[in-house]
């Protein structure tokens, strides 16, 4: 063993931790982008009941067609698909017990901030408190 071994080990550990958290942040960022885009698409379409083309199961053709022809929705769905594969990658380098709660609570907090900024939702004190409680609750549930 040489004197530099501990230093190398520390920097290796740092690199690994950096890679883990980059993967977690990427997963959360893709989820936030996807959810906000899909929410924006649905907000723009409005209440889906009004888009129904008739009674029964065929009446849902209207909403389905409207959703599938929305560029906002398609971009959001692409982000969610990328999020799925990013999560698969993340799970290959991060333990599930860290990856699942970390991405979930980061996504909740990021979603609230993004909903306020981009969707101009009225995120009042009550909703911030709810987001904070959910973020902590999800971490506790994973313990």
């Amino acid at each position: 063993m040489t004197a530099t071994a501990p230093a190398t080990a520390t920097s290796l550990l740092q690199t690994h931790v950096f890679r883990e958290w980059s993967a977690i942040l990427t997963v959360a960022a893709l989820a936030i982008t996807g959810e906000v885009l899909i929410a924006a698409a649905m907000r723009r379409l409005g209440d889906l009941d009004h888009l129904r083309t008739g009674p029964g199961i065929r009446g849902y053709l209207g909403p389905v067609r409207a959703i599938l022809s929305s560029p906002l929705f398609l971009t959001g769905a692409l982000c969610m698909a990328l999020n799925f594969f990013a999560m698969l990658y993340a799970l290959s380098i991060v333990d599930l017990s860290l990856a699942a709660p970390a991405t979930a609570s980061l996504t909740y907090i990021g979603n609230a901030a993004a909903a306020k900024v981009f969707l101009r939702e009225n995120v009042d004190r009550r909703r911030w408190l709810a987001v904070l409680f959910v973020a902590i609750g999800v971490v506790l549930l994973a313990k």
Binding site: F133, G137, L140, L141
Partner: protein, 151 residues
């Protein structure tokens, strides 16, 4: 405008809560039967599609996506989010009372926090009202001119 939700809309939110969590649980149960899948054994995934747990999990998750998007068409993202988180509580309670697993104090604390969060949000309005430039009827300038009229 207070935006009281219709019973059918509560039903949609309930579907969002239940389908996501139960669907995930079914998927994980099915995949546990299939075993680990890596890039060299991708055909195993097709094998997984024949597993009844996987099939019912996928059906429930499709139902989740449909009801989630329906909810987003009349409610704010920050209003629907705690509902999706409530799914974790459902899974934890299912594992406690159905599978008789032990829940640690941490998990009970997490359940209490998420239930509180749902309570905070459910008491408020479901939708932020702001003039939408996509619809001429609610143009900001028109809103200024006839504010208060006809609402």
């Amino acid at each position: 405008m207070t935006h009281r939700l219709k019973p059918s809309q509560y039903a949609i939110l309930l579907t969002v809560m239940l389908t996501a969590s139960v669907g995930d649980t079914l998927l994980s149960r099915g995949m546990a039967q299939i075993g680990p899948v890596d890039l060299h054994h991708l055909p195993l995934l097709f094998h997984a599609l024949a597993n009844p747990y996987i099939i019912s999990g996928i059906v429930l998750l499709i139902g989740f996506f449909a009801s989630y998007m329906t909810a987003l068409s009349w409610a704010d993202l920050t209003f629907v989010m705690p509902a999706t988180a409530f799914g974790y509580v459902v899974v934890a309670l299912l594992s406690r009372f159905w599978l008789h697993e032990h829940l640690s104090l941490y998990r009970w604390a997490g359940i209490v926090l998420i239930v509180c969060a749902v309570g905070f949000v459910a008491g408020g309005p479901s939708r932020t009202e702001h003039p939408d430039p996509a619809h001429p009827s609610s143009h900001p300038n028109l809103d200024l001119m006839d504010s208060g009229a006809g609402r």
